[in-house]
Amino acid sequence: MGRLLRIGGVIVLLAFGVVLVAAVERSRSKDAFVRQVAAGALPPAPPLDLPALAGDGRVDLASMRGSIVVVNFWASWCVPCEDEAPLLARLADELEPQGVRFVGVNSNDVVDNARAFVSRFALDYAHGHDVDGRAKERWGVTGFPESFVIDAEGRAVTWFPGPIDADGLRAAVAKAAAP
């Protein structure tokens, strides 16, 4: 019986250790991507394939390979997103003719409100709906708004951990375009 108890105790301790390591690893991997981007390591952008916010289509970042893409995470209830939206609309109008693509990722939101937000600010580019919040997690996004600039080879060049600014975004796009 004593031997059985020792084995049981070891199993319980091992299980506890596995859970602990998994939890630590999970929290580390959550922000690994953004830390790499911030360090200028040009990590490949995580997959982003979401149902479109409007209509039946999908928004797939992989299909935009070859273009510079500005990925913006937002929610309609987020006040800084409201402040940022008119600038985003203006910058999309300015940069899209130069071949830059804009993608909105709407997360943690009521769909009708999100669609109303897009229409109110004339954000006339593709928006995906991150239904279960997994895209947000994969990209290490912890708040709204957050944006990334992805180069033509699918590497993340710049991370904006808050609202973008016009000059900052133009500079990030120029950096992504540099060979």
Binding site: L4, L5, N108
Partner: protein, 151 residues
């Protein structure tokens, strides 16, 4: 008799409208069953903008006469299963039910084992003590002490 018939007619005419106007669930009830996806707490405990927005959505659907199940289904479609306060009993959600149950069962087995081992030890120790043979003097003293005790 005429009055009774009139009363019944009125009851029949207005009862369905009365029932339809009655909310099919209360806000308090559903707010305890739904999570805030941003802060990870129950909706009734959260007052961040995202939670308020979901609350408004539920209130609007309640006013439209939706059932609680319909509202929850619509919320799951927009936020995924994580919006529900109770873990689903199918798919990957099943793990969340099985693991704690298995750990609990394992814990009970270990605890029972420990209790059994603890109970057995004193008996083993007593059995391990060799019997002591008393000489006649000692036996006489013990007898005397017992007699004094009984008296």
């Amino acid at each position: 008799m005429r009055r009774v018939v009139l009363a019944l007619a009125l009851l029949v005419a207005f009862a369905p409208a009365g029932i339809a106007a009655e909310p099919r669930f209360t806000m308090n009830e559903i707010e305890r069953e739904v999570m805030c996806p941003v802060c990870g707490t129950r909706l009734d405990l959260s007052h961040v903008p995202a939670a308020n927005q979901i609350r408004d959505f539920i209130a609007a659907k309640q006013a439209e006469g939706w059932t609680k199940a319909e509202v929850k289904e619509a919320l799951v479609a927009q936020f995924g299963e994580r919006i529900l306060a109770s873990t689903p009993t199918s798919g990957s959600g099943l793990i969340a039910w099985i693991v704690p149950a298995a750990v609990g069962a394992g814990g009970i087995v270990v605890a029972v084992g420990l209790v059994l081992a603890w109970r057995r030890r004193p008996g083993e120790r007593v059995a391990a003590v060799p019997p002591v043979a008393l000489d006649s003097e000692a036996a006489r003293k013990v007898e005397a002490a017992l007699r004094d005790y009984d008296a």
